[in-house]
Amino acid sequence: MTAAAEVVRLESTLDTSHVRARQPPLSLEAVGVSKRFGGLAALDSVDFKLTPGSFHALLGENGAGKSTLVKCIMGFYQADEGKLLVGGQPITVKSPKEAQRHGIGMVYQHFTLVENMSVAENLVLSRADVPRIIDWKKEKRELEEFMDEMPFRISPERLVRKLAAGEKQKLEILKQLYVGSRIVILDEPTSVLTPQEADEVLGMLREMAYQGRVSVAMITHKFREVVAYSDEVTVLRRGKLAGTGKTRDLTPEAMAEMMVGAEVPRASLERRELEGAAKFFELDKLSANDDLGLKVLEEVSLSVAAGEIVGIAGVSGNGQDELVEVLAGQRPTSSGSVRVDGKDYTPTRAQMRQRRVRLLPEAPLKNACVGNMSVAENIGFRCYDEPPNTSLGWLVRGSALRSRARAAIQEYGIKAPGPDAPIAGLSGGNVQRAVLARELTGEVNVLIAANPCFGLDFAAVSEIRTRIMAARNSGSAVLLVSSDLEEIFALSDRILVMSEGRIVYESKASEANMADIGRHMGGAHH
């Protein structure tokens, strides 16, 4: 098990002396909540019960209905059926403001702080009753007193822009306590944090729950966090309640089965070993600058053998995006070189074709497609200017592209109205399938994939991972950049960690250790 298991339960150290004359946390109950969008039942008679002073995890795949449930509680949506109870009393919530009046606050996946304002300004502004004229002396004194009571403090003077991601998330949580929320709902609060920052934030939340300040409900899909921090767990699957119970009574396997259901088989990622694979794709001391001219990649050297997947882990914003941009030809290098099979490679269209380098960028609709062009045209981007898709060497034959696209739609199971439909109308998974169809058709020497499964549902994820593995097994050198450690572990043969534009850690996947990787992601190499 991971470091998570080592986290000591705080029950024994529960210190009631912190509990002053403050409002006790509340229970929250949703009974038989249903919500439909058009013909789709996003929530189907779901029950959810949050015990006062507990830490409750709400688990489920993308599209399982977690966010819809929470949005019904917060008043973003009105449930079609069912009722809400806070502290046993039925309530109706029509807006987040009303939810706040009932003591329910929410921390979103993305920060809702104002970057260019100070911590103090952000806190004071979040109150329901901002005074007409603000007496900063008095406010600062009260903020100091408030911070003194909290398990974590951030200087009120600091500018939010200058805080680290973990501090911002803690500030979001402090903000909820500051405005007097007694139920805090969090939507994947750790998605932008390092594992260490995540542990600190979640540890602080749990302490607050045990001190009797708040009841916590957290949306997540990370088992590690569920097991280490939550008391109770509720699992949703396809809009229905799939199971609920005390976390300590459930194994991760049991929860996983609730999440994905027994009927969906996990994709078997069969690895085939290739004999004597030479170094195939090499980066030699590659450096590049960001948009402001600051060094963002520092002498990155790595190599990927044919038939190998090398995974690059790291907290987003440490140069991974720029590395992919460099390899995709979207960003100039300042020094260093790239070689494919020993030959120099610069990412031009001609060389990509010649060296058979293919790309699966992040957010494919934005980075790999033209939204208003058709599925057939998008699938044809790599080959529309070659025979048999051209006549006379310059005239593009739409019929040839369409028949190619029809074949791809069939083979990759792309759900599209037809080859002439604009690609922007497809769902995220189907856009990624179309890009896969384009990039993996024909012989592929090098495949560069960046967060290829981000935001996709379970079926699409397993299929896309299977395709990437198949490319590896047929001899492609695969460089996988992902912020999802689970994905890195599922696919990679070798794991590298990138931090501050450098490769700071390397290990075989079979020998890699989550704690080590987490430490290096967080900058332990200093």
């Binding site: 403001k97 809702t112 104002v114 970057e115 260019n116 502004l125 901002v130 603000i134």
Partner: protein
Amino acid sequence: MEGVDASSIGIWGVPLAVLGGAIRISTPFLFVSLGECITEKSGRVNLGLEGTLVMGAMSGYGVSYLTGSAWLGVLAASAIGALLGALHGFLCGRPRVNDIAVGIALMLFGIGLAFFLGKPLIQPSAPRLPSIPFGFFSDSPQVRSALEVNVLFLVGLALAPALRWALANTRSGMVLRVVGEGAEAARAMGYDVLQVRLLATVVGGALAGIGGSFLSLFYPGSWNEGLSSGQGLMAVALVIFARWDPVRCLYASLLFGGASALGPALQSVGVTSGYYLFNAAPYALTLLIMVLSSSATEASADMPAELSVSR
């Protein structure tokens, strides 16, 4: 300065004239840039303030002529400015409407409308705004004329620090900044972003209208079609130059006003060569300061994050 003879001022006439010019010429710059500062703090750019300025000048002059009260003229100019601001704010509140494009359209609309409605106002003379003779102590006509300070300038002088204080210490100021720095955050706090921006554009338009009335009712003090030589547009640039701070808007306006007075001041002491060159001083100065103060990283820090040019 007591008892100094006019002719003995000599070369000192230049800084004195520049000072006087700074006070006189800066007033429209000051009002328009304070107005634009408020609008831009909300995350929206109103490029139409040149049109608002000219409409303010025309309507202020017209109302002053008809009622015999220059102050009623100022009031009318600010009302017309608020109306034009409301039009901009309303149009930009529609989906998929770009504030820059609307601003340019409203600038041309305002100028055209003012010229059309203002035709009969070119001949008659309207009552002008009063001024306070701070130069009473001196016998020197240069000193007296330089220190002939209009009340509107004093209002602007007080308004700049008041605005800076309000942005940091009042609820309205904070809400304005939140809307300009993070619309999502503002919505999450339950503020109506479009409403705040509409109000900010209305207030900005009203201030620009007052700036226009200064042109026709004090300096130069009559209505004609060549009254504004792009002050409204330059004031918008001044806001960037002042990095969205009202007090720096004041300094920038004074600097600009002073630079504009350099040409005439030099001419008055007999330096006539390069007259047109010195008249271009404000523009050269803007370019120079922009180049010196610009930085790849720092300039953007003060810029409201929601401005459509920064997104």
